[in-house]
Amino acid sequence: MTSRDRVRTPLSAAAMEPDEGGRYGVYGGRYAPETLMAPLEELSRAWDRLRRKRAFQRRLRHLLEHYVGRPTPLYFAERLTEHLGGARIYLKREDLLHTGAHKINNALGQVLLAKEMGKTRIIAETGAGQHGVATATAAALLGLDCVVYMGEEDMRRQRLNVYRMQLLGAEVAAVDAGSRTLKDAINEAFRDWVASFADTHYVLGTVTGPEPYPRMVRQFHSVIGSEARRQLKRQTGAADPDVAIACVGGGSNAMGLFSAFLDRPDVLLVGVEAGGRGPDLGDHAARFSGGTLGVLHGARTLVLQDEEGQVVGTHSVSAGLDYPAVGPEHVFLHEHGQIEFTSATDREAIEGFHLLSAMEGILPALESAHAIAEVTKRAPGMDPDQVIMVNLSGRGDKDVESVLEYDAAPGVE
C-alpha cells in the first residue's frame, strides 16, 4: 500500500465523549417531558452499571456469537471492484445477521438490559420493520411481552415484516398519526412509555433520542467497526480503509462502523442520507443539506423543519431512512470535520440495489443500497490499491416488492 494522506485531524477521546447530560458539544441532551426524566435517569444508571459488568457483557457476547451469528464476514467484492475499476471494495456483511440487519445488535443488548432491570414488557418503534423484527426476536428469545409501533404507510411498504413480528409473538400497533412513518411511530412509543415505564423498557432503535440512548445504541453497534478493522487487517495487512461508507437514517449502523475509525486520521468517514425524489423540502431525508438545528425526540440535532419549528414530512424509497432528524453525535462529528455527509436519490439507491444484486449475488436493503450508490460514485476515481469499506447494514428481501413497484413506475427526480 502507498502511504496515505491524512484526511482529517481526529478529536481527542475526551472531546468525543458526551458530557453528563448526554451532550455532544451543543447537540444531544435530554429533552423529555418531566414524567420521563426519572425513568431516563434510571436507564442511564442501569446502563452505566451493566456496561461495565463482565457477566452482562459475557452473556451478550455469547448470544451475539451463538444466536445472532457474529462475527459477520468482511467480504471483498471482487466483481463489483472490477466493474467500477478503482478502489477495492469490502462489504461488512451485517445483512447476514439473524433477522437480516444490524439492528439485532442493539435490540438484543437493550432487551437483555431491560430484563436485568426487571422489566417485563418491551416496546419499540420501527420504520422499515428491521428494528421491530429484531426487537420482537429478542423479546421472544428472552420471554418478554413486546409491542411494536409502526406507521401505517410503513406497514403497507413492509407488510412481510409486519407478519414476521406477529409470528414472533409481538403486537404490531398501527400508527395513523402525522405522516404515518417512523417519526410518528417514535411519537407513539414515547406516549406508551410515559404511562408504562414502571414495567416497560422502550427499545429505541437508533443513535438519537434522549441521553442515554445515543451512547448506548452506539456501544451496542460498535462491534461492527471493531470486527471489521480486525478482519481488514487479517485480509490485507492494514486495518484502516481509505474510506468507510454507511447509510444514515438515525445513524446507528454508521456510528457502529465509524466508531472504530474515529481516532484514525487517514480514514475518511462518509455518511449517506436519503436524497429521495429531489432537493425540495419534503422530498427527501437529507438533514445535513436541508435541516436546521432543532429539538426532536429528546435530542437537539439537525431537523427537517419549517421556519415555525414544525417538523416537515420526508420522503425516501427506503422506510428506514425516512426520518426528519439524525443522531446528535453525527452532527457533532460533522461539525468537527470528522464525518462527511452526502446523499443518494431514490433512483441511485435502486440502481445500487440492482448493481449489487447482479454483480455479487447480494440483495442489499434499500437503506444499504444508498451506501452502495455512494461507492459507485467514489470508487472509480480512486486507486486500485485503495480500500473502501462499506457497511452492508441489511439484506434486501424485505424490499423486493418496493423495488418491483419502483421499477414499474420510476419516481420523478
Binding site: G21, G29, R30, Y31, A32, P33, E34, T35, L36, M37, A38, P39, A177, G178, K183, D184, I186, N187, F190, R191, V194, A195, F197, T292, L293, G294, V295, L296, H297, G298, R300, V303, Q305, E307, E308, G309, Q310, V311, V312
Partner: protein, 275 residues
C-alpha cells in the same frame, strides 16, 4: 420610535393566584389549542374562557409531533396546523387580546417552535405580545435553566415547569427553583386526556409537592368534570382542564354558538370553585 412597553407587568400570574387565594378558592386554568378549529375562532373562544371564569389561560401552540399528548389534543393540533396556526400567529392573537382578556396567558408549547425562533427573539416577542408565562412540555429544568429561563427572565416572562409523580425530591426542587408564577403538577404518568377517575393518591402526591414548593401548585392531566375540579381544588392552588374543553371545541366546531357552549361548560367547571 419609542421602545414598545410591555403591557402586562411581571407578576400578573402571581397576582391572579393571590386574588384567588384571597377568595379562598383555587384558580381555574383552562387550556385550548390556539387556532383550533380556526385562527378566526380563537379570539371568541378566549373571551368565552374568561366569561366562564378562567383565572389564567393556558394557550397551546400546535406542534407536528406532540409526544406528551393523547388523541384529543393531537387531533386539535392537527386541525390548528391545517388552519395555519403557528407560534407567530399565536403571538399575534395574544398581542391583540391580552389587554382585553385581562387574565394572564401562559403559552403551553413543545420546545422546538421556540428553539426554531431563537430563545432570545422568542422571549422578546413573547414579552412584547403580553405573554405572561411559558411552559415547554419537553424542556425539563435541567435543559431549560440554561437555555430558556435566563432569556425569559430578562424579559420578565415567567417560566413554568412541570413536576410529575415520578419527580424525585431533587427534581421537584429543581423545577421549583426554575419556575416563577406557579408550578404545574402532572397528576398522571400518562399523556394528556380525560379520565373517569382521579388517581387515588393524588392528595398525598400534591401535598408532597406543596411541602417542597413555595409557589402555587396547579394540577392538571386527566381532570374533566366539575366533581374532579372540586376534588382537586381542595388540595391544589390551581386546576387545569384541557382535553375535555378541546373535545367540546372539536364536537361543536361547526356550531354557530360554539363560544357560548364553551363559556357554559367553563361555567359548569368553575361553579364548584365559587360556592
Amino acid at each position: 420610535m419609542s421602545p414598545r412597553r410591555r403591557r402586562s407587568s411581571r407578576g400578573a400570574i402571581a397576582a391572579a393566584f393571590a386574588g384567588c387565594s384571597r377568595q379562598k378558592r383555587a384558580a381555574f386554568i383552562p387550556f385550548l389549542v390556539a387556532g383550533d378549529p380556526s385562527l378566526e375562532a380563537t379570539p371568541d373562544l378566549l373571551r368565552a374562557l374568561v366569561a366562564g371564569g378562567a383565572d389564567v389561560i393556558e394557550l397551546g401552540i400546535a406542534f407536528s409531533d406532540p409526544i406528551a399528548d393523547g388523541p384529543t389534543i393531537q387531533r386539535a393540533s392537527n386541525r390548528a396546523l391545517a388552519a395555519g396556526s403557528s407560534l407567530s400567529a399565536v403571538l399575534g392573537i395574544v398581542e391583540r387580546q391580552r389587554e382585553e382578556l385581562g387574565v394572564p396567558i401562559v403559552l403551553f408549547t413543545y420546545y422546538n417552535p421556540v428553539h426554531a425562533r431563537g430563545v432570545a427573539t422568542f422571549a422578546a416577542q413573547a414579552a412584547d405580545s403580553g405573554v405572561d408565562g411559558v411552559l415547554c412540555v419537553d424542556l425539563p429544568p435541567d435543559e431549560g435553566l440554561r437555555e430558556l429561563q435566563p432569556a425569559l427572565s430578562e424579559r420578565d416572562v415567567d417560566s413554568i415547569y412541570l413536576i410529575a409523580a415520578t419527580s424525585t425530591k431533587a427534581r421537584i426542587d429543581r423545577a421549583a427553583a426554575a419556575s416563577n408564577g406557579f408550578v404545574y403538577y402532572a397528576a398522571r404518568s400518562d399523556v394528556t386526556g380525560e379520565r373517569d377517575d382521579l388517581i387515588p393518591t393524588l392528595e398525598r402526591e400534591v401535598k408532597r409537592v406543596r411541602r417542597r414548593v413555595r409557589l402555587p401548585v396547579a394540577v392538571g392531566f386527566g381532570i374533566s368534570t366539575p366533581e374532579q375540579v372540586e376534588e382537586v381544588a381542595r388540595v391544589a392552588h390551581g386546576v387545569v382542564v384541557g382535553s375535555s374543553l378541546v373535545r367540546l371545541v372539536e364536537e361543536n366546531a361547526a356550531e354557530p354558538d360554539l363560544a357560548a357552549r364553551l363559556e357554559r361548560r367553563v361555567g359548569q367547571l368553575t361553579a364548584p370553585l365559587r360556592r
